[in-house]
Point group: C2
Chain length 364, copies 2
């Protein structure tokens, strides 16, 4: 057998360590494990959604409606777009995969910020495309345009707010980038954490409709973060209908589960849980900022449901992540992103207190 | 924007019409709709599995364990293989996609029987590969070897039992094909409906272990059919570890949901529901055979949970499918496969009686 040569250069995604693994490997009781590694919603599953799951538990044998008629109608209403503007993925991740597969090949390149969501690079490399990154982790206009003019990438990724750093790019700056780039480049505006940025400062709020005037721009959203449905794997892309139509050709049938379809429909109609999630987050993140200030630790001003602590040469992010892990606290080491930093999901009051207690002891 | 040229030739999968659509389009009450189109398990969801879903409804916010440690352990035990021999997909469909993406390109070709699972062709065309089919819908040794020697395909698909026709290829004949082909070709043995074939006649029973001696062969299985979990999207591929390792490079993280992971673990450990499903099926399919004989309708001897009725020039499959649909009975017209035939999922006693009543009136 001969495998495609692109496989030689593919690294796979490093997922946040699951609680089960820490229980198995370190013998810590599940109740003592605090996972602040995957930006899961600390409130848990919306009780209204859990109810929907329970009441549909007996239709697990039925394939979902592959047209996703109801979910698209609900999203179309929420965002004031047409159903032909929408494609559903198993997480917005899968929409990224559709985009890669629809436009990239071994002669193409993609452009993204210096530190950003790892799957952009992985999906691009799966297609054999070259990957260019700007110097900064922020989305800086000059850096993007310099690289854009040099490489003419077929896809540009704008992750706002940005993961795993937490910074955001304003709507004005995003529009400026779109206007400055040619319409032969697909521009992905990944708003996976948009609910948190929009609630913090209106100038960072970007809605699909803000971008629908451009035929080469696609907005990505997800139910995984503020909606608290990471485990259900539902996200979406919103763009002009001709672009959506092409992406559909890479969509496998039944790409979300029957239960995922039901819960996403309900979640789209109910915004109260998102508001509750954002409110808890806004209250708790202040503790992380205060703790960092008190301990002279740098951090990136966050527009997401996590915060990135930046260490100087006295602290090593990998050592700290390991020490926390052995105590049952799972956070994300950003060493593999070239940063001496850790990313911590803002948890519940209790989870955050547990983090501070262990972290204080480790850095003492 | 310029899309990859393979998109020009891609047709998308035509899913069985969902009940919701028939309700919407024909104004038929949901309770009066009988769907025998997607080979869903007519018993419904295993009550033990529905219980697992209900008891895990509150962890929808958590990502699944991306290592799938427990599920692989359960499958490894069931099939007496190692966990390194296993890859999990969102349905065995997704494993087909991994295979296509790992080995195919625009210079490659694939080979399959004349009528078989539509996704083989769709995934191959997504990669720009050429698609060759044998004359017969059965997997005939001479036809396969003639085409194999002529085209040297990079992937050969053996669907046994075969969908959408229902015929099966014996283990002896599958092994003969594998032995006759070179090890530079990946041979996919798709056993999505294997539980039904194995229960009908031992000579059709193929287990992953029967094939694990070949480094180029992968066995596919699914929880969608006999296990009654079509809506949960879980399937798997079992092969030698080096092949699995390459396919993993195309696997996106979190490719099944948290609930799907839980139910698949439970389903692997519990075979009683499969036995119950097969028993109902074996009892009810006799009615379809008797009905066909009484009405001089041809059919393919079925090793799956559906039956294919073959019509002569007096009956038109598309007209019959339409007439049934308007009465709320959804079956699959095989006209798009070049056959004047319909595929009917074997339902419950009541569903089957409803089908016979409407079908009798239509052909009267």
């Amino acid at each position: 057998m001969k495998f495609n040569k692109v496989l030689n250069s593919i690294k796979t995604y490093e997922a946040g360590k699951p609680i089960e693994l820490v229980v198995r490997e370190y013998g810590i009781a599940p109740k003592d494990v605090v996972k602040l590694a995957s930006n899961e919603n600390p409130i848990g599953t919306n009780p209204a959604i859990a109810k929907v799951i329970r009441s549909h538990a007996d239709i697990a044998h039925l394939y979902p409606d592959d047209s996703m008629f109801e979910l698209k109608a609900a999203l179309a209403k929420k965002y004031n777009v047409e159903d032909t503007n929408i494609i559903i993925g198993a997480g917005s991740d899968q929409v990224l995969e559709f985009i890669s597969r629809a436009v990239l090949d071994e002669n193409a390149s993609v452009l993204m910020s210096g530190v950003t969501f790892a799957m952009y690079e992985i999906y691009a490399k799966q297609m054999g495309a070259k990957v260019y990154k700007t110097m900064s982790h922020e989305h800086k206009f000059e850096e993007f345009m310099e690289a854009y003019n040099m490489y003419r990438p077929k896809v540009v990724y704008i992750c706002t707010p940005n993961n795993p750093t937490g910074d955001a790019t304003s709507k004005e700056d995003v529009i400026a980038l779109i206007e400055a780039m040619g319409s032969d480049t697909v521009i992905v505006v990944d708003g996976a954490y948009m609910e948190y940025a929009a609630a913090k400062d209106e100038k960072y709020r970007i809605t699909p409709n803000d971008l629908l005037g451009y035929d080469n721009v696609i907005y990505l959203g997800t139910f995984s973060k503020a909606h608290g449905l990471g485990g259900m794997r539902v996200g979406y892309g919103i763009a002009q209908a001709p672009l959506i139509k092409e992406l559909y050709k890479m969509r496998p049938p039944f790409n979300i589960t029957t239960l995922s379809l039901r819960v996403a429909i309900e979640a789209t109609k109910d915004d109260s849980f998102v508001q509750q999630s954002v409110a808890l987050h806004q209250e708790q993140i202040k503790r992380y900022e205060a703790f960092a200030d008190e301990n002279s630790i740098g951090y990136i001003d966050s527009y997401t449901n996590f915060i990135t602590y930046l260490f100087d040469e006295n602290l090593n992010s990998s050592h700290i992540a390991d020490a926390l892990l052995k105590r049952g606290v799972i956070i994300r080491d950003l060493a593999s992103y070239g940063m001496n930093a850790i990313r911590i999901t803002i948890g519940t009051e209790e989870q955050n207190s547990t983090f501070f207690r262990h972290f204080s002891e480790i850095i003492a």
